[in-house]
C-alpha cells in the first residue's frame, strides 16, 4: 500500500493509492472548501484510465480538515464518472454528513425531459409565429374593446358594478394630482411656441400675431396632445402596473370567481375617470399655454397684456375649444384603454408588470398621435 501519485494543489489534496489490483483508493486531505485550489475530477478519470482496470473505488478522509460544497461537487463528478464506467463506489470512508448529502443529491433523478435546449427556429417559422402572435393580440384588442362597449352599455342601464368611491379616488389621482406637471409642461410649450413664432413674425413687424399662433395651436391641438402624453406616462403606466400587479397576486382571479367582471369593476371606473378628467385638464393646459405665450409677448415683444388677451379672444373661436376638448376626451379613452388592456394582459411575474407598464405608455402615445392625425384630417374635410 504505497502512495503512487500525490497531488498537492493549494489546500485540498487527493492521494491515489492502489491497495490491490483492481481497487482505487482516494485519500482526501486538507481543506476542501469552495474557492481553495482543489484537484479536478479529471485526475480521477486519468487514474482510472491508466494502470490495470479499476473494479472498485474507496475513500478515506483521515486527513480532511474541513469541507463544504467544494468537496461535494468534486465527489458528485467522480460518482458520475464511475456510474458511466460501471465502477462500483464505496462511500463508507467519507464523513457521514457527506454521505447523507450525496444520497440526497441523487435521491431525485434528473428530469431529462425537463431540461431544455434553446432551439433556433427557421426564419419562415419565426415569421409565421410572429404573424400568429400579431393576429392573436389584434383579436385580444378587439375583444377588449367589445367587452368595454358592453360594460358602457350596462353603465347606461345603471347595471354596471363598481364602487363609486373608487371612481372618485381615481378621478382625484389622475385629475387634480396631475395639475402641477400639466401646468409646468403646458406653460413651457406655450413659451416655446411663442418664441419660435416671435422670431419669424418680428421680421414682418407682426408680433401681435404671436397671440393667434399660440392661442390657436394650444387650444386646438397642442394642449390636448401634451396633456394626453403626460397622462399616458403618468396615469396609463400606473393603470397597467396596478392591474398587472393585481393579476400577479391573483386579485383579478378572485374578482372573476366572485362573478364580478374585471371589466366593470376595474376598467370602467378608470375609463370614466379619465374621460371626465382629460377635457378639464386640457382646458387648464390651454389656459397655461396661453399664459406662457403671454409671458413671451409681454416680456420680449413689448405687447400689453390687454392687447394680447384681446388678440387671443379674437383668434380663438369656441369651435376650436370644442375641438380641443373632443381631442382630450378621445385621448382619455385611448390612454385608459391601453393602460387597462396591458394591465389585464399582464403575465404573472415582476418583469411582466414592467413590460405591461412600458407597453401601456407606448401604446398610449402611439394611439394619441394616430388619433390626432385622424381627427385633424376629419376636421379638414368637414371644414372646421
Amino acid at each position: 500500500m504505497s502512495p503512487s501519485i500525490q497531488r498537492q494543489l493549494g489546500q485540498g489534496e487527493v492521494t491515489f493509492i492502489r491497495p490491490n489490483g483492481d481497487t482505487l483508493h482516494l485519500r482526501l486531505a486538507g481543506a476542501w472548501k469552495l474557492g481553495n485550489a482543489l484537484p479536478s475530477a479529471s485526475e480521477v478519470e486519468k487514474q482510472i484510465a491508466s494502470g490495470p482496470p479499476v473494479r472498485r473505488i474507496t475513500f478515506d478522509t483521515q486527513g480532511l480538515r474541513e469541507w463544504d460544497t467544494g468537496l461535494l461537487t468534486f465527489l458528485v463528478k467522480v460518482l458520475d464518472q464511475c456510474a458511466q464506467g460501471n465502477i462500483p463506489t464505496d462511500l463508507e470512508g467519507l464523513p457521514p454528513g457527506v454521505q447523507r448529502l450525496l444520497r440526497l443529491a441523487r435521491a431525485v433523478p434528473e428530469r431529462k425531459e425537463a431540461s431544455r435546449k434553446a432551439v433556433r427556429e427557421p426564419f419562415l417559422a419565426r415569421i409565421g409565429a410572429s404573424a400568429l402572435r400579431w393576429g392573436q393580440s389584434a383579436t385580444e384588442v378587439v375583444e377588449f374593446v367589445g367587452e368595454m362597449a358592453l360594460a358602457i352599455f350596462r353603465l347606461f342601464r345603471g347595471k354596471a358594478r363598481f364602487q363609486r368611491s373608487d371612481l372618485f379616488l381615481i378621478m382625484q389621482d389622475c385629475g387634480a394630482q396631475a395639475l402641477p406637471i400639466v401646468s409646468l409642461i403646458s406653460l413651457l410649450v406655450g413659451l416655446i411656441l411663442a418664441f419660435i413664432g416671435a422670431v419669424q413674425l418680428q421680421t414682418f413687424g407682426a408680433q401681435i400675431y404671436v397671440a393667434d399662433l399660440v392661442g390657436i395651436a394650444m387650444v386646438r391641438v397642442m394642449g390636448a396632445v401634451m396633456t394626453g402624453i403626460i397622462v399616458a406616462g403618468r396615469t396609463g403606466a400606473a393603470f397597467a402596473a396596478e392591474l398587472g400587479t393585481m393579476q400577479v397576486n391573483e386579485e383579478i382571479d378572485a374578482l372573476k370567481t366572485l362573478g364580478i367582471p374585471a371589466m366593470e369593476f376595474l376598467v370602467l371606473p378608470r375609463m370614466l375617470a379619465l374621460v371626465l378628467m382629460m377635457p378639464l385638464l386640457c382646458l387648464y393646459a390651454d389656459l397655461m399655454g396661453v399664459l406662457g405665450g403671454m409671458i413671451v409677448g409681454v416680456g420680449m415683444l413689448d405687447l400689453s397684456p390687454v392687447a394680447y388677451f384681446h388678440q387671443t379672444c379674437q383668434a380663438v373661436s369656441l369651435t376650436f375649444v370644442w375641438i380641443g376638448l373632443f381631442h382630450g376626451a378621445v385621448f382619455g379613452v385611448l390612454v385608459a384603454l391601453s393602460g387597462c388592456l396591458r394591465g389585464i394582459q399582464c403575465g404573472r411575474s415582476a418583469s411582466a408588470v414592467g413590460a405591461a407598464a412600458t407597453s401601456a405608455v407606448v401604446t398610449g402615445i402611439i394611439s394619441i398621435v394616430v388619433a390626432t392625425a385622424i381627427i385633424t384630417v376629419i376636421c379638414n374635410v368637414i371644414g372646421i
Binding site: L34, G35, D68, T69, L72, T73, V76, K77, P96, G97, V98, R100, L101, L104, A105, R106, A107, V108, P109, E110, R111, K112, A114, S115, R116, G347, R348, S349, A350, S351, A352
Partner: protein, 267 residues
Amino acid sequence: MGKEAHITVQDLTMAYGSFVIQRDLNFSIHRGDVFVIMGGSGCGKSTLLRHLVGLKPPSQGRVFYGEISFWEADPSEQDRIMRRIGILYQSGALWSSMTLAENVALPLKQYTSLTPPQIQEVVSLKLSLVGLSGFEEFYPSEISGGMRKRAGLARAMAMDPEILFFDEPSAGLDPISARRLDDLILDLRDSLGATIVVVTHELASIFAIANDSVFLDATTKTMIARGDPKQLLAESKDPQVLDFLTRGEAGAQAEKSEMDRQGGEGL
C-alpha cells in the same frame, strides 16, 4: 448548557412606529440547533425574523451575532454577517426575471471568485439537493409553488451559510413535501453543522425538527415560554402554550372538565 451562542437577542423591543409588537425578548440561539420561533398568527414571528436577519432595526435592544452587536456594527461588518446567513422566504422570493440556475448563481457570482463552470457545478449540486436537477433553465413562473420554495432553499444554501433562516417553510406544501423539507432541514443541520432558525406554527414540523424554541404571545406582547417544544408540552404549566402545542385540545379538555365539575356541583 455548554453550547456556544450563535445569535443572542438582548432586551429586544419590536415596534412599527409607536405600535409595539413584542417587548423584552431575551434568548440565545446555540450553534447547531434547530430553533423554532412559534406563536399564534399576528404575534410578530416574521417581524422577529426580519430583525434577526438585518432587514429591520430594533426599536430597542440588541441582536448579537457571536460577540458582534449587529445593529451597532459598521456597514461592512454587517455585510459580512449577512453574507454568512441564508434565508428562505415564505413564497421563495425568487427573482422572476432569472432562471432557477441564475437565481442560485447570483450570490456566487457576486461574492466568490469561482469560474463560470465551477458556479455551474455548484448550482447543479444545490438544485439536486432540493430535488430539482434538470430544472436549471426554468423560470420561477413556470414551476409550482412547492418547487419555487425548494428552489428558494437552493438559493439560500448557495453560499454554504452558517445560519439558515426559514420563514414558514411548510406553508403551502403538501404533507409529504413538508415532511421531506423537515428531513432536509435536519440533514442540512447534521451535515453542514449549520444553525437553523425556523418561523412556523406547523405543529408536526415543530415536534419533528426543533430542539429549542421561543413562544411569542400576542396579548402580553412578549415571550412566555422557552425551550425544547417536546419538553414544553410535557412540563409547561402555561395554558396558552399547552393550547398551542395540542391544537387547542388542552383548552377544550380543561373547559370540559370545568363544565363537568360545575355540572356535578349543580346536581
